[in-house]
């Protein structure tokens, strides 16, 4: 199981490299923010542990905090990224810049 997961880990790393190597500068900040939202996946860790193994009050308190943190990371991250990207299209009509790039 561990070795299979390790293989997935390595491949995912290469996917990460490949996807990012071609990004215009303009999108560096939104991309950072978007990847930031994606590591909110830690929320799943909180959900799994609280659902399957947690016992005792301290465990539960810690995990509720972890779930809250993970949720903030996910919702906040995606919303902020969306707002940032919204700055690109503050004009109602499609911009010439985009048309030219076609």
């Amino acid at each position: 199981m561990f070795l299979a997961n390790l293989a997935i880990l390595v491949l995912a790393g290469f996917v990460g490299f490949a996807v990012i190597s071609k990004v215009p500068n303009t999108l560096h900040t939104p991309l950072m923010s978007g990847t930031n939202a994606i590591h909110g996946i830690v929320l799943l860790g909180g959900l799994v542990v609280i659902g399957l193994t947690a016992s005792g009050v301290l465990d539960k308190v810690l995990l509720v905090i972890a779930i809250a943190f993970g949720t903030i990371n996910v919702v906040g991250g995606f919303l902020v990224t969306d707002r940032m990207l919204g700055m690109f299209k503050n004009k109602p009509e499609p911009s010439k810049e985009e048309a030219k790039n076609d």
């Binding site: 990460g16 978007g34 930031n36 939202a37 609280i50 779930i67 943190f69 707002r83």
Partner: protein
């Protein structure tokens, strides 16, 4: 885990990758973000479908708290405060990882009931997550100006020794746990030493290097999420975490390179904030023409059209209000004033628009690159305020230049150019700007805000 959960996880991380690909292009970015968000929703639902899932009330409690805090924070934050908000969201992700590692330790009696890899990955996650959480909090505090933005340091060699010692202690404690010592104090020790390390690493880093640091911490949190995924046998976490770890590392490297800095130099810290005001570039045989505030004022006062080209320098100096005041005086004299906004000006898309809007500059005066480029030829004065690479004619003319092909503002077509700049330091991309050596160009050195204020004073007495 059932097959259904596995399949949903595969769909989820497929969507993450597809969404990220979308985020790398301007036209697909909004959709890409949405697709990634859908992937996240699927991953969360799949996890809740895991057989044996319980403690629903607590799950709802945690999620509700998270939504109540996260949504308003993301909605209300001003565009100028965006970087610290990203730092904060990154930090809580790291915090979640550290907390999960702690609970794992408690549940598995110091991992003794688990295979060795669980101990290794969990402890790695505990250290990195804790560093990321506290480091991000410091980054947030500095950008929010709760903490002073200038570097706070014990002095360079000492600081690095202390940091190294903290890391060594945290790792040694983790190794002791790995050999089966079951003591609550040990894991708390690991988390605390990593926390102090996170604080001390980020504290000495100055304001200008902050985006790079946030990106680095972002990559760290991704790696720690992947490690947690390994410990919990959760493929969605492994894939998503590792993609963020890899892409975050590249992004960090790109950002650091673009600022002419190396990541070790930034992390070693202590002089980060000074990078903007550093010594005046290397020796050059070309000469630049210097001008005074008075001359610049006269030049603009008798122009028909002035185009202001703002850049990161204006943002750093918080000069937008001063610029607006100057523009108003020029307009009273019948000068037409426009602002040329390059899509990459500043360190954030829309950075300039937001700052100028804050200073109540009318929206119609803000011209996008394609609208203004044709106008430079009939512009008397182009006033470049802390913008550099986006005005470099080498992008058009010199195929050997690293920025060749990047669309730029054709500032060099204006009849005369005044550049406000701190020093002759190369810009974000670390490339010399031929514009400064153009015979039509004159340079006004100094902080953008005070330079503009001086020009304004000169305009008043003209």
């Amino acid at each position: 885990m059932t097959d259904l959960v596995h399949v949903l996880y595969i769909i989820a991380f497929g969507l993450f990758i597809y969404g990220l690909m979308g985020l790398t292009g301007p036209r697909t970015a909004v959709r890409g973000n949405l697709i990634a968000a859908v992937g996240m929703a699927i991953a969360i639902i799949a996890t809740l479908l895991t057989p044996g899932e319980s403690n629903w009330l607590l799950i709802v409690l945690g999620v509700v708290i998270g939504v109540l805090v996260g949504v308003p924070a993301a909605r209300r934050v001003k565009m100028t405060a965006m970087p610290q908000m990203v730092a904060l969201f990154n930090g809580v992700g790291g915090g979640a990882v550290a907390l999960i590692a702690w609970v794992e330790f408690r549940d598995s009696h110091a991992y003794t009931s688990q295979p060795a890899y669980v101990a290794v990955t969990s402890l790695f996650a505990a250290i990195v997550g804790s560093v990321s959480f506290w480091g991000s909090l410091v980054a947030f505090g500095k950008l929010q100006e709760i903490l002073p933005g200038r570097p706070i340091s014990l002095g360079k060699p000492l600081q690095q020794l202390v940091n190294l010692a903290l890391l060594v202690v945290a790792v040694v404690l983790a190794v002791i746990i790995g050999f089966g010592a079951d003591s609550q104090l040990l894991i708390i020790g690991v988390l605390v030493f990593a926390a102090v390390l996170g604080l001390l690493v980020v504290l000495p880093i100055g304001g200008a290097d902050m985006p790079v640091v946030i990106s680095l911490l972002n990559a760290f949190t991704g790696l720690s999420a992947a490690a947690t995924g390994l410990a919990l046998n959760n493929t969605a976490m492994i894939v998503a975490g590792m993609i963020v770890g890899a892409s975050g590392s590249i992004l960090t490297n790109l950002m650091a390179k673009a600022m002419n800095r190396s990541i070790p130099a930034i992390v070693a810290g202590g002089f980060g904030g000074g990078s903007l005001a550093a010594d005046a570039g290397g020796p050059t045989d070309k000469t630049v023409r210097q001008t005074s505030a008075a001359d610049a004022a006269i030049q603009m006062a008798y122009a028909n059209q002035v185009v202001i080209v703002p850049g990161y320098g204006m943002a750093v100096a918080q000069a937008q209000h001063a610029v607006k005041d100057m523009a108003r005086l020029l307009e009273q004299r019948g000068v037409e004033v426009k602002y040329a906004i390059h899509p990459v000006a500043g360190r954030m898309p829309g950075h300039m628009n937001v700052l100028l809007a804050e200073a109540d500059v009318p929206y119609e005066q803000l011209k996008e690159m394609d609208d203004i480029n044709g106008e430079f030829a009939r512009t008397d004065v182009a006033l470049v305020i802390g913008a550099n690479d986006v005005t470099n004619p080498a992008a058009r003319s010199n195929p050997g230049s690293p920025i060749h092909g990047m669309p730029i503002l054709n500032v060099d077509e204006a009849r005369s150019i005044i550049v406000l700049k701190r020093s002759m330091n190369p810009g974000f991309a670390g490339i010399e700007n031929e514009l400064y050596y153009d015979s039509k160009t004159s340079m006004l050195f100094g902080d953008a805000k005070s330079s503009v204020a001086q020009v304004t004073e000169e305009l008043k007495i003209l």
